[in-house]
């Protein structure tokens, strides 16, 4: 099977480069943590408790009107299949812990995933491409309201939604925006911005891939405070900080371009060369070059590459997907070789050259 066919099959809604500010914002995610009143939280639950919670949730989901959900029990999946769910951002790494009895309910288009028996009984998650805070929240809120009709949530008039971790108590909501901030990183401004944002009740984290390797210049901005602010206030704060960051990133890009156009071009085109001509491509290098090529496209320096393909590559270059495609476990060396092939294939430069040759010989 070709990479293209494989990727088309595995593609999930949020990977498409669309939505507002899709050049800088990759995706928007809302997560709501909920628990059932009458069962201990997963941290102290027995297998039986976990089964009961899972059953209650499956029943509640069946009565929902607009969406059809598929229930997937983690224990029924191979380790590789579980990893794929994590790499697609549909479940958290905690959910796939084999000692737990986690499962996930996935909507057909995979924009909604409901994790069951993670740290909390229920974690409703909605991911949208680009900058779509309000749309993602509306969706999550609606799922929550529909579930609540049939479930007895743990809720307190003072503390709000009761969660396992006190850092989620209140709204139980974590809203986050995933952003590509290469210019703020190159100019080292991000180092000053991160602590400033943390003092506003928001957190900035790098997004990590295999092991501790950071995926190139991708940051996740999310709310840290869940108590004492309404959902609307939290979302408004996140929105204004995100917009602020987008504006700063844009300005830094202009500045970089004005100050050292040739040096910047050199760097970006070298990265493109690495992605399109390597035979061995480690994930850290791939992530760095991918970031550069994205920046090159945004600045109009690199042309004729579709941003959606770059979003796909970011996901499909991960070890789980590479092995899924190869249909076997691969050593890290073999993965680096297959990754190089994936990039050459998807960025299409060598392929179109090869096609031309084929056409000539016909």
């Amino acid at each position: 099977m070709s990479f293209e066919k494989f990727i088309k099959q595995e593609l999930t809604g949020w990977m498409v480069a669309e939505g507002e500010h899709a050049d800088i914002v990759l995706s928007t995610r809302i997560r709501l943590a909920r628990n059932l009143q009458d069962y201990p939280f997963p941290i102290s639950a027995t297998q039986e408790d976990a089964n009961d919670v899972s059953k209650a949730l499956n029943q509640a989901v069946e009565t929902m009107q607009d969406d059809h959900f598929t229930s997937i029990t983690m224990e029924d999946l191979s380790p590789l299949e579980r990893q794929i769910l994590v790499e697609k951002h549909l479940v958290s790494p905690q959910l796939i812990n084999p000692k737990k009895h986690g499962s996930v309910l996935l909507s057909e288009d995979e924009t909604i995933s409901i994790m069951v028996n993670e740290e909390d009984h229920i974690r409703i998650q909605c991911i949208y491409p680009g900058f779509q805070i309000d749309q993602a929240y509306e969706q999550a809120d609606q799922v929550d309201s529909e579930l609540e009709v049939n479930l007895n949530y743990a809720f307190d008039e003072t503390f709000g939604y009761l969660t396992s971790c006190p850092s989620n108590t209140g709204t139980g909501m974590r809203a986050s925006v995933m952003m590509h901030l290469p210019a703020l990183t190159i100019t080292k401004q991000i180092e000053r911005i991160i602590p400033a944002i943390s003092r506003l009740g928001m957190v900035v984290r790098g997004s990590y891939g295999e092991g501790s390797e950071a995926l190139g210049n991708i940051y996740q901005i999310s709310n840290q405070i869940t108590l004492g602010k309404s959902e609307e206030e939290i979302l408004k704060d996140l929105e204004s900080i995100s917009k602020r960051l987008i504006a700063h990133e844009k300005k830094s890009r202009e500045l970089l371009l004005a100050k050292s156009e040739v040096h910047l071009e050199n760097r970006l085109f070298r990265s493109l060369g690495t992605l399109t001509h390597s035979r061995i491509l480690p994930s850290a290098e791939a992530a760095k070059c991918l970031s550069d090529v994205r920046l090159g496209i945004d600045l109009g320096i690199i042309e004729n590459i579709d941003m959606t393909i770059l979003n796909e590559l970011m996901i499909f270059m991960q070890p789980g997907f590479l092995q899924q495609y190869a249909k076997e476990e691969l050593t890290s060396d073999k993965r680096d070789i297959l990754r190089a092939q994936l990039f050459r294939d998807r960025l299409g430069i060598e392929r179109s050259a090869a096609q031309e040759k084929d056409n000539d010989s016909l």
């Binding site: 628990n35 009143q37 069962y39 201990p40 939280f41 941290i43 102290s44 740290e119 809120d141 929550d144 309201s145 609540e148 009709v149 007895n152 949530y153 743990a154 809720f155 307190d156 008039e157 003072t158 503390f159 709000g160 939604y161 009761l162 969660t163 396992s164 971790c165 006190p166 850092s167 108590t169 209140g170 709204t171 909501m173 401004q189 180092e191 000053r192 911005i193 991160i194 602590p195 400033a196 944002i197 943390s198 003092r199 506003l200 009740g201 957190v203 840290q224 405070i225 869940t226 108590l227 004492g228 602010k229 309404s230 959902e231 206030e233 602020r244």
Partner: protein, 183 residues
């Protein structure tokens, strides 16, 4: 000193702005500093993990100020439902069940204030079923006020009707309001 810009929060950052012939100092709070054009303060705060945070906090023995530092900390209250002690809660940074919140109610405002920028009370979404309970409680209060008036004006028949109505609402409230969609 208050922030020169919003005059609401304390000033924590000094900004030096260069103009054509002078350097102006501005004293701003974190928020205003962030929203002003330049980023020019030094990073000193890294977000801590919740376990690190609670462990660190416990290490400061701030919770039991009457305790001598070398004495072992008491376990504090214990959750009757899941058995978690408050001491253990600080260790693992997680509640074991919904009842823990009730059990540790006395200690929690301080925990939450530290974690959520001083906030201790939920503001935001409330489950619809709970909204119904709120509505029932308000309805009950209304009925009781009217009953009082009726009694004072010696309209005893009306008062009796209102009393029956109040009992009905009380019944709905004690049923948990689960299957009853009142209003």
């Amino acid at each position: 000193m208050l922030c020169e810009n919003c005059k609401e929060r304390p000033a924590t950052v000094v900004f030096k702005q260069e103009t054509s012939n002078d350097v102006i100092e501005r004293h701003l709070c974190d928020k205003c500093a962030f929203y002003s054009q330049t980023f020019s303060f030094s990073p000193d705060q890294e977000p801590l993990s919740i376990q690190q945070f609670l462990a660190h906090w416990l290490g400061g023995s701030e919770l039991f100020p009457e305790q001598k530092a070398d004495e072992r900390l008491p376990d504090g209250p214990k959750c009757p439902s899941c058995g978690l002690t408050f001491h253990r809660f600080l260790d693992i940074g997680k509640f074991g069940c919904a009842v823990c919140y009730e059990t540790f109610k006395g200690q929690l405002p301080r925990v939450f204030a530290k974690l959520h920028n001083g906030h201790t009370q939920h503001r935001g979404k409330i489950p619809v079923s709970l909204n119904e309970r709120f509505a029932l409680k308000r309805k009950l209060e209304d009925i009781r006020t009217k009953m009082q008036e009726a009694v004072e004006n010696e309209r005893f028949e009306e008062a009796a009707t209102l009393r029956d109505e109040a009992n009905q609402v009380k019944q709905q409230l004690s049923d948990g309001g689960d299957d009853q969609h009142v209003i």
